[in-house]
Symmetry: C2
Subunit: 351 residues, 2 copies
């Protein structure tokens, strides 16, 4: 059985599925459902990140190599940074009407990188149509009841891509260069290029497997992170140059107003990634980036450097996210917003 070779080659100690079932058992069940399918629809969550897109495309390519029809659909467009790692047309964008035409057209629907029906966006109705066979692969913690014919959820997996790789192994798919590139995109972005706390042994084992075919990591890095426009680069410069400290240096923050954005010739999306540079300021426990929206209000992004749970901070201020990365919206002057944030953060720092 191919699972033996997975255990030996790649994941000596597979973590548990959150359901408590052994991962090996779920993989066998899931592979059997896919083997019997001829046409497979693959979908992921709205606002798909690198793991969502990379895992979806990697799985589709693997299934295609087995002679199946496999198509990836998304209700949102795909981040341009991913273009160097997945072929054009790998993901088909659909609106609500387009999605509804897909209902009942596929033997199996696969939901990746989320287990929440609502997060499937316009594709929710297709995947959860009565009688539709559906499976789910995810690495987020679950809360709730789910109705999948097979459901693999491993919270300790660094990315959904690792679970897809195990499934492809179970399906005895050869991981060709194009599959490896897609899964690399997923793994590399979800671990912040092997920097975040989820970049443990499993992430490095998975990366090493993907490099077997001879990928060039430096080239891949360039595709994902190395292609910043001049405007974006200038905007990041402003974020760094004008950063300020508060709470005895435990908070580092920066504000980008509409005027600054216009001066740099940049758009708000160009701020993506800048907060990770702010995080690097010595002594900071939390980084905050305030960016002004067109209506004058602010989006506040938070990152935790030390053990601060920024999700709790953001929740108190009407937002949400994860313990390490969260955010919320606020109105008022930057100084007012900052004062409120400092109050909440101060309580969190004291606990």
């Amino acid at each position: 059985m191919s699972f033996d070779s997975i255990e030996n080659d790649f994941a000596d100690n597979l973590p548990d599925d959150v359901s408590g079932r052994p991962v090996s058992e779920v993989l066998v069940e899931m592979a059997e459902i896919l083997r019997q399918a001829q046409s497979v629809l693959i979908a992921t969550h709205v606002g798909p990140d690198g793991d969502a897109i990379g895992s979806s495309v990697g799985l589709a390519l693997g299934l295609k190599s087995l002679g199946k029809e496999a198509r990836v659909f998304s209700g949102s467009s795909v981040d341009g940074r991913f273009e160097g790692l997945i072929a054009a047309g790998s993901v088909e964008t659909v609106d609500e009407e387009g999605a509804s035409c897909l209902t009942g057209q596929f033997d199996v629907c696969v939901l990746l990188d989320t287990s929440e029906p609502a997060r499937a966006g316009v594709l929710e109705g297709v995947i959860f149509a009565p009688g539709q066979k559906r499976i789910c692969i995810d690495h987020h913690l679950l809360s709730g009841e789910y109705s999948f014919d097979s459901h693999l959820a491993v919270a300790s997996s660094p990315a959904t891509a690792c679970l897809v790789l195990w499934l492809l192994d179970e399906l005895e798919v050869t991981v060709e260069d194009n599959i490896a590139r897609a899964l690399w995109l997923a793994l590399a972005t979800d671990t912040g290029w092997f920097r975040f706390s989820n970049a443990g042994r499993l992430a490095f084992q998975c990366a090493e497997r993907l490099l077997e075919g001879g990928l060039d990591p430096e080239e891949l890095y360039g595709f994902i992170y190395g292609s910043r426009s001049g405007q974006k680069t200038r905007l990041w410069g402003r974020v760094l140059l004008e950063h300020q400290l508060a709470l005895d240096g435990r908070l580092v923050w920066s504000v980008i107003s509409r005027e600054t954005l216009a001066e740099a010739g940049a758009v708000r999306e160009d701020l993506d990634g800048a907060i990770d540079l702010l995080k690097g300021v010595k002594g900071a426990h939390t980084a905050a980036l305030l960016s002004q929206l067109d209506d004058g209000s602010f989006k506040v992004s938070l990152r935790s450097v030390e053990s601060i749970d920024v999700e709790r901070v953001a929740r108190e201020l009407g937002g949400g996210g994860h313990a390490k990365a969260a955010g919320y919206s606020a109105t008022g002057t930057a100084q007012e917003i900052l004062d409120t944030l400092k109050d909440v953060l101060n309580k969190e720092l004291d606990t």
Copy 2:
């Protein structure tokens, strides 16, 4: 034999030693010399980088765990960024006089991360004293004749740390947390945190081995890269904000004058790492960072993004380095220096 377990566990296909001897054979020979030694001096090259320091400290800790006296000496002080990963006092700094007292005091001297006697600085005389037993572990390409009792040089190894890890395996040393941290420092800095072209399968395999004991990569990242002072952060901001393009966008450059440095309250060393951010500008084949010295002249740092060999460019302008990273010194105005650089680079881009 322990080498079998290395082959199975870690490096299925060990690359060759540049001498043409199998690496396994050299490791056996080297381990035997160290087993017979009671006191070992470890030294590396002048201006020691993360690989030099991390490999040296990792080897010393491994030898100590076998009950040997093992001390690391350096003629230069150790970069403060490394302090979170190696214990205080791990490296003893010596001047010429201090070094001369060490001659003949050790059973074996180990030179790490360079094979060139002159690069050992004040410790050259100790290591190369007549009758002194000496060994060398290095991952740079060699040219010349060398006189070591055992000499392991593997150019395809991502860092000297990987070779030290193989040697520790051969010596049946348990890789405890403190050894893993030191070798992680070495591997992570020499591969630019798994971004550079040497971050291939061997680097990821080595990293995965070092994580076995439960290191926290995010914490380690913070120690090495996540502790930028406010001044340094502002300086990086200037580098990004004021970047310019030339040669149809194929050259991205930035200048930091003495005045800018003073304004940011920064020192020239604070520029370390900034050029890697410049490299990320879309379309750039080469990044150049001009920083003004106290006497008004400039240091020019070059990085290759694409296939440009910047060592050839730097050499034509009186400097040197590697194909991917090189530099030189120049006098004149920033604009004059840039014009000369553009001329040389233009020829290189056309070839």
